[in-house]
Symmetry: C2
Subunit: 119 residues, 2 copies
DNA sequence: GATCTGATTCGATAATTGTCAAGGCAGAGA
DNA sequence: TCTCTGCCTTGACAATTATCGAATCAGATC
């Protein structure tokens, strides 16, 4: 799977100029909002940070990091998955999660303000 | 008001390293999530883009851009305001909104992935 | 096959949220 | 002062969502 990591890459990545540069159309906003929404929950934001700050991480380790039930963590991971922010891969007994750098980069690009070097 | 733009600024701005660098604590996630949540609605994301892509913009212009009632727009603007993403100022009859670049920058920094130039 | 462990799905419930209609407040002008 | 306009607040309601327990599924091991 590490081979075909190019499933939905650049297409999404090259969506829109930064918010500070041009307003979004309704459609663009509708497409992008779910990603922000996925990060808009403290549990998911922390899950995302745990996933993004390692190469890959097992669900068991993620579950241990919270005082929440397995199904609840699973639910939040699904939201992150469906938003396109993370990828999941089952390997033997465990499921491993990893971040989608392109997605994060896209969001970062949207929020970009007055890139110092670009001036 | 443009003078005392220092109401809740730098404190928030210097929060955390990028998600991809270090995981967030529960408290950090709790503080940051509301900003993402505020952007997690298509209407608000588009509002934010309209506000951020101009110097300042009147509520009347924002309302005109949507097929939504005044109170609904007002509600969304309040969410953006309370998340610290925008500032509002009443001038005569109209209320003007402007973006808080620091807030956007903070979020962009959080999502920053492997800054090419930093390698 | 039987069983055990890790993770997801299902079903239910309480809490949050997006939306609007109605009402209220602030400033401008008659 | 009265009225008009622009915006916000309140109250209500439908829809969404966060959470958990129970059930189910996927592999591994016996």
């Amino acid at each position: 799977m590490s081979k075909q990591r190019g499933s939905l890459p650049e297409v999404v990545a090259a969506c829109c100029p930064p918010l500070a540069v041009a307003p979004l159309t309704g459609e663009q906003a509708t497409n992008l909002a779910p990603m922000f929404k996925a990060l808009g929950d403290p549990v998911r934001l922390r899950l995302m940070s745990l996933i993004a700050s390692t190469d890959e991480i097992c669900v068991c380790d993620l579950t241990d990091a919270f005082d929440l039930s397995g199904p609840t963590i699973s639910h939040h991971l699904r939201v992150l998955r469906e938003a396109g922010l993370v990828d999941a891969e089952r390997r033997a007994t465990w499921v491993w999660y990893r971040a989608r750098p392109q997605a994060l980069k896209q969001l970062a690009g949207l929020l970009d303000v007055a890139t110092p070097a670009a001036v």
